[in-house]
């Protein structure tokens, strides 16, 4: 019991000494750009958050690297969410990966941009298992297809649902009343 309390104190102190959580990834992303320039696209820092646009072919390589890279250690995938930038926009869809480190406490957002005709992204379920349901949800809402996903089914909407509900051209009230029978 006393060991536990001691250990908690150490962890708490370590957490309290963490410095500016938003700045660290920005600096480290710069070093990454020197080593693997093909992995990173545009990097923006806004509202204290770092966003990196990633070519979709590189997303698995980059994620696998970020998960273990010393100094980054993004061992937790907080969230994946899709977004529709607008029917007229090109590229139309984006997939946002929100990474978090349970040791360094910093965050990073990766962004993959997709054209409407070709909404395929490689899955990152091999890197973090939690990606499974997030990718299913993104597929369900936006029709983004995650290549290599072990179980890419609809998750929130019924299996026989037509269309993808969070696309901007999908009407708020749907096309017709949905019936279970």
């Amino acid at each position: 019991m006393s060991q536990d309390i001691e250990r908690e104190k150490q962890i708490t102190e370590a957490a309290l000494t963490t410095t500016d959580a938003g700045r660290a990834p920005a600096l480290l992303v710069d070093t990454l750009r020197r080593e693997h320039p093909e992995w990173l696209g545009e990097v923006t820092v806004a509202f204290g958050e770092v966003t990196v646009v990633v070519p979709r072919e590189q997303i698995i390589h980059l994620c696998a690297h970020l998960k273990v890279a010393p100094g980054l250690e993004f061992n937790m995938l907080s969230d994946i969410c899709g977004a529709d930038r607008g029917v007229e926009e090109e590229p139309r869809f984006e997939v946002n990966y929100h990474l978090f480190s349970t040791t360094k406490y910093h965050r990073l957002r990766l962004k993959v941009l997709l054209n409407e005709e070709d909404t395929h992204v490689p899955t990152v379920t091999g890197v973090w298992r939690t990606a499974n349901w997030h990718e299913r949800e993104t597929f369900d809402h936006f029709g983004v297809i995650f290549d290599g996903h072990p179980d890419l089914r609809r998750i929130l909407l019924p299996d026989d649902w037509q269309g993808h509900s969070l696309r901007k051209d999908f009407p708020l009230r749907g096309y017709e009343p949905y019936s279970l029978t």
Binding site: E8, T12, N75, M76, N96, H98, W128, W133, L157
Partner: protein, 406 residues
């Protein structure tokens, strides 16, 4: 009349030697121990679970779509209905994300009240978890004791905001209104009496041999697996990882409060139980500190184009009346950009992603619900356990279907 067996799906076919085969049963969505409308498809070998497939979406109401059609201030009402046991936490995550986009500074008093209310809400949420978790395992008395205590918190939330379950108390730029007169006294009364109630829960459960046998060594998930599955909150701390966003990435002034992060190393249902029980005591510490720091001051940010003016100012000042009309009729303009703001909800990391293209309505709002992610690890936890342990494990990860299905 005989039942035809020709058109049945394969898992329901009649077999000659039933003991040699696996059986598929559907648990839920009406099962009371699934805490809502969760359906689990369980493949059983005898009483042992071979495979578990959660089926969710029964409560899907398209909230994320609805956000895009509502003004920013109208979205607060939607967040109340996601995790209905922790509505103030949802309010906070959402308004803080919008405030991040707007770059608003929140006055000291408003921040303190937010912390105070959120921690009371956390206790209330944990009380519902404790009552239903114990009820699932067979201890009925605890349920009534928990709801008795929770009622006191809900009454206070109602006194402050007018709503018990859907308070919408936090607004973009501050609070709906200041606390009512005599609120500090009620908080003091609650904080004085709650430790005795917490002791009562411990007496009923912690030393209970049946409860211990049902929970110890059940539903094990190691720290590495828990992080890989994205588990956060008390469920992660039950696996020995001291991660608490209130401490690691403080928001709303949490860095000024003195509290501990309880962790347990058991990785099982019992460890998660102990973490939440200890967490209630820690939340109570924060409530006391926040209540003692309530200094008089404004509860709304000084941003006339975003925050609704006071009623009195509207009657005497022309510009206040104009701003009020514009905010209500047209909303306020939020600069383009995207933010992800995460807070420590009562169940784990509650993150809100907002993408704005300017204007009064968001382009996309996404909520990273802790229950959604924690539930995705359920198949990992129940694998190889007995079917009766499934209810104990579901109870221990504390899910709310309103947030999972959104």
């Amino acid at each position: 009349m005989s039942v035809s067996t020709t058109n049945l799906p394969p898992q329901f076919e009649v077999v000659d030697r039933p003991l040699d085969t696996q059986m598929t049963i559907s648990m839920g969505p009406q099962h009371p121990s699934t805490h809502g409308v969760l359906r689990l498809e369980l493949v059983l070998d005898g009483e042992m679970i071979v495979k578990c497939t959660p089926d969710i979406g029964y409560l899907h109401t398209g909230m994320e779509k609805l956000f895009e059609y509502k003004k920013y201030q109208q979205g607060i009402v939607i967040t109340d209905r996601m995790d209905y046991l922790n509505p103030l936490g949802n309010n906070l995550a959402y308004v803080m994300a919008v405030e991040k986009l707007l770059g608003l500074e929140i006055p000291e008093r408003a921040q303190t009240i937010r912390v105070l209310m959120c921690e009371m809400q956390r206790i209330a949420s944990h009380l519902v978890w404790l009552g239903t978790h114990a009820l699932d395992i067979g201890a009925m008395t605890v349920f009534f004791y928990c709801f008795r205590e929770r009622e006191k918190i809900l009454n206070m939330i109602e006194a402050a905001s007018g709503g018990r379950l859907t308070p919408s108390y936090f607004r973009i730029g501050g609070l709906m209104m200041d606390l009512p007169a005599g609120f500090e006294r009620r908080v003091k009364q609650f904080t004085d009496n709650f430790p005795a109630a917490l002791d009562e829960f411990h007496t009923l459960l912690s030393g209970n041999r049946i409860f211990q046998n049902r929970t110890k060594g059940v539903g094990i998930i190691s720290a590495e697996d828990a992080i890989d599955w994205g588990i956060t909150g008390p469920s992660l701390r039950g696996s020995g990882v001291a991660l608490d966003i209130r401490r690691s990435n403080p928001y709303s002034g949490y860095e000024n409060y003195d509290f501990d992060i309880p962790i347990e190393h058991g990785c099982d249902v019992w460890a998660r139980y102990m973490v939440r029980m200890r967490e209630m005591a820690e939340s109570l510490k924060i409530v006391k500190q926040a209540a003692s720091r309530l200094a008089p001051g404004p509860v709304k940010a000084d941003a006339p184009k975003v925050v609704l003016p006071d009623r009195e100012a509207m009657k005497t000042h022309m510009d206040a009346l104009i701003h009020h009309f514009l905010i209500v009729a047209e909303g306020f303009n939020v600069p383009a950009g995207e933010v992800y703001h995460a807070i420590e909800g009562s169940k784990g990391e509650l993150g809100v992603y907002i993408r704005s293209e300017g204007g009064a309505k968001p382009s996309r709002v996404h909520v990273r619900g802790p229950s959604f992610v924690n539930l995705s690890a359920l198949p990992h936890m129940v694998n190889g356990e007995m079917v009766a342990d499934v209810v104990a494990i579901i109870g221990s990860i504390d899910i709310v279907l309103g947030e999972i299905d959104r």
